[in-house]
């Protein structure tokens, strides 16, 4: 795997039980890139994401994160690979009974020997990154949906991952909050060199942040387009890609 490639997906087939959603999917994500997975409903975006983060084993093929294969790794080796990634779920998935600071210190407490004071200081810096440093003692239910998404990103960053996977980060957010989240993603990539893999439908966000996108299709069971979003919008001859980027009815 070339040094500048952090994720390599080779000939991946994925699905549930006997149902195959994706066949022979291959692509690479470069370090420091903001990579977006696009597609219509039911095309396998979330399934692909689950394979990338090791929640589902591939039916065939391989997913390598910085050279490590989550599907075949176990024990210490798997933990090592998992520490290189952070995941922000669509709902935020913050632990409702814990404060924002506790949500962040939880993985730090589990995977490091840092003293409590240091863990709290790290939680503060992570929340500062997403402008929530004044909400350390709040429960997730006490903050807005947009703040919860930012807090989820802060938690995903707790162990300084190399890659952040975000599932529908802008879903359900107002345009201003969504734009702020886009700015945060760019800021974290530029300042910390984090690689982002996003699953998104929000065209405005995609144009704002994506370096490269792939578009999945349900019928093709795979990638039907790949490139910069503006290029796909202006140059793609594929009817589905054209409709998607121009918001036209099927």
């Amino acid at each position: 795997m070339a040094d500048d490639v952090i994720i390599k997906v080779s000939d991946l087939s994925a699905g549930y039980g006997e149902e195959v959603l994706l066949e022979h999917v291959s692509f690479e994500v470069k370090r420091g890139e903001i990579f977006v997975i696009l597609g219509g409903s039911g095309c396998g975006k979330s399934t692909l994401l689950k394979h990338l983060i090791g929640l589902l084993p591939p039916m065939a093929g391989q997913v390598l994160i910085d050279g490590g294969d989550l599907a075949s790794a176990s024990g210490e080796e798997r933990q090592k690979i998992l520490r290189r990634i952070g995941v922000g779920y669509q709902s935020g998935a913050l632990f409702g009974s814990m404060t924002l600071a506790e949500n962040i210190t939880l993985p730090i407490e589990e995977f490091t020997t840092l003293p409590p004071e240091a863990r709290e200081a790290i939680a503060w810096t992570k929340l500062k990154l997403v402008s929530l440093e004044n909400y350390t003692g709040h429960l997730p239910a006490e903050i807005s949906g947009g703040m919860q998404k930012r807090a989820a990103i802060a938690r995903a960053m707790a162990l300084d991952p190399q890659v952040l996977f975000l599932d529908e980060p802008s879903a359900g957010l107002d345009p201003i909050t969504s734009a702020e989240l886009d700015a945060l993603i760019l800021h974290l990539r530029d300042a910390l060199g984090v690689t982002f893999v996003l699953v998104s439908h929000e065209l405005a966000s995609i144009y704002a942040v994506a370096d490269r996108v792939i578009m999945l299709d349900k019928k093709a069971k795979g990638i039907i387009a790949e490139g910069r979003p503006q290029e796909l919008r202006d140059q793609s001859k594929d009817p589905f890609v054209h409709k998607f980027f121009h918001r036209e009815a099927a």
């Binding site: 490091t112 003293p115 004071e117 790290i122 810096t125 992570k126 440093e133 997730p140």
Partner: protein, 365 residues
């Protein structure tokens, strides 16, 4: 100069402290030097970070704390690390009150009192709402969902038969085992039948059944409705113009009222059977036991238990549903509601039973 660890050296000269950080400031290295570095930074401190090669989140947190606590000047950071460190500019104004203040004991007491009375008020309001709903049932949108009633009746009743039966049978059996030897000393061990019969029919049958119902079904109602509240399904009902009390609570409460007396009769039978088994083992003929039982208990004893059953059924189902509707946000509040439904139900079962005992005594029932 003191070398605390490979990545930290401390220099003191005329009261001025200089910390020299080097190498990789990652979580492992920072774990070893955190206390020493911050301990040395009691007064004015300067931090030489020119030999720091790498700095992760833990390293950044250490530098931030050194700058915040001691106003430490951090010099020599590599440009790429300085760029990351700039993200935390302004941390000197770290808001120590960002964590919510903890209540004083008096505030906690006041809050607990206010919550108690608020809860009492909500229970009374809920009772009123229930009464209105039951009195206003008619066809169409106001109809009772009988299908839900039967489903709940089955879940709370039929599926509880095993546990209610086993507990009641063993209760009767234990009571007879415990009572028989002392009564035998006076030659009146046949009166064990009176004891088991009256205790099961008037007190233990209803109470044990109600407690099992609270643990099995009341908690299930609270968890089910609480999860619906968290998932905004209750809001969806409201916005569809469907009253959650009529839609969710009424069928469960009605099923509770219907099923509890049936379960109580079943518990009474099994409890008495448990007592009979002990007496049979002790050599008493079945006919003698039956005659003793029928002479000791009357229809009014059966009725005394059944009347309690209606009240307990309404109470357990009502409390379970109320706690579900009172659920706040998040998964943990569903747990709180479930626990609260069981605790409240058991407490109120005992209180209501005490009231029944007084009333029965006064009216000589």
């Amino acid at each position: 100069m003191t070398e605390v660890a490979e990545s930290l050296k401390v220099e003191s000269e005329e009261g001025a402290v200089r910390l020299i950080l080097s190498g990789r400031l990652d979580a492992d290295a920072v774990s070893g030097i955190w206390d020493e570095a911050l301990g040395a930074a009691n007064g004015k401190v300067t931090v030489d970070a020119s030999a720091v090669e790498y700095c992760d989140g833990a390293g950044s947190a250490l530098l931030c704390e050194l700058r915040r606590r001691a106003g430490g000047e951090i010099t020599g950071l590599r440009p790429e690390i300085a760029k990351v460190f700039e993200l935390f500019e302004g941390d000197e104004e770290k808001d120590e009150n960002a964590a919510k203040p903890v209540d004083s004991p008096m505030e906690s007491l006041g809050r607990a009192g206010a919550e108690f009375f608020q809860d009492l008020r909500e229970q009374v309001e809920f009772l009123g709402e229930m009464a209105v709903v039951f009195l206003s049932f008619r066809g169409g949108a106001q109809r009772l969902r009988w299908n839900d009633v039967w489903v709940t009746f089955e879940r709370a009743g039929v599926q509880a038969l095993l546990v209610v039966g086993l507990i009641s049978f063993l209760t009767g059996l234990i009571m007879a085992f415990q009572a028989a030897p002392p009564l035998k000393q006076f030659g009146v061990d046949i009166f064990v039948v009176n004891l088991v019969g009256l205790a099961m029919l008037r007190e233990l049958g209803p109470i044990m059944t109600a407690i099992v119902l609270a643990g099995r079904s009341g908690s299930a109602f609270a968890a089910e409705i609480g999860t619906m509240k968290v998932n905004e399904e209750i809001n969806a009902l409201n916005t569809m113009g469907l009253d959650p009390v009529r839609f969710l609570v009424a069928p469960r409460v009605l099923a509770g009222i219907m099923v509890t007396p049936v379960l109580i009769i079943y518990a009474d039978l099994l409890g008495v059977a448990g007592g009979f088994l002990v007496m049979l083992i002790r050599g008493f003929p079945p006919t003698a036991l039956w005659q003793q039982l029928t002479s000791a208990i009357g229809v009014h004893d059966v009725m005394a238990g059944l009347i309690k059953g209606f009240a307990f059924g309404a109470l357990v189902a009502g409390i379970g549903c109320l706690r579900g509707l009172q659920t706040k946000e998040g998964a943990s509040s569903v747990g709180v509601s479930t626990t609260s439904s069981v605790v409240s139900s058991i407490f109120l079962i005992v209180v209501v039973d005490a009231i029944f005992a007084v009333v029965y005594y006064v009216i000589d029932f």
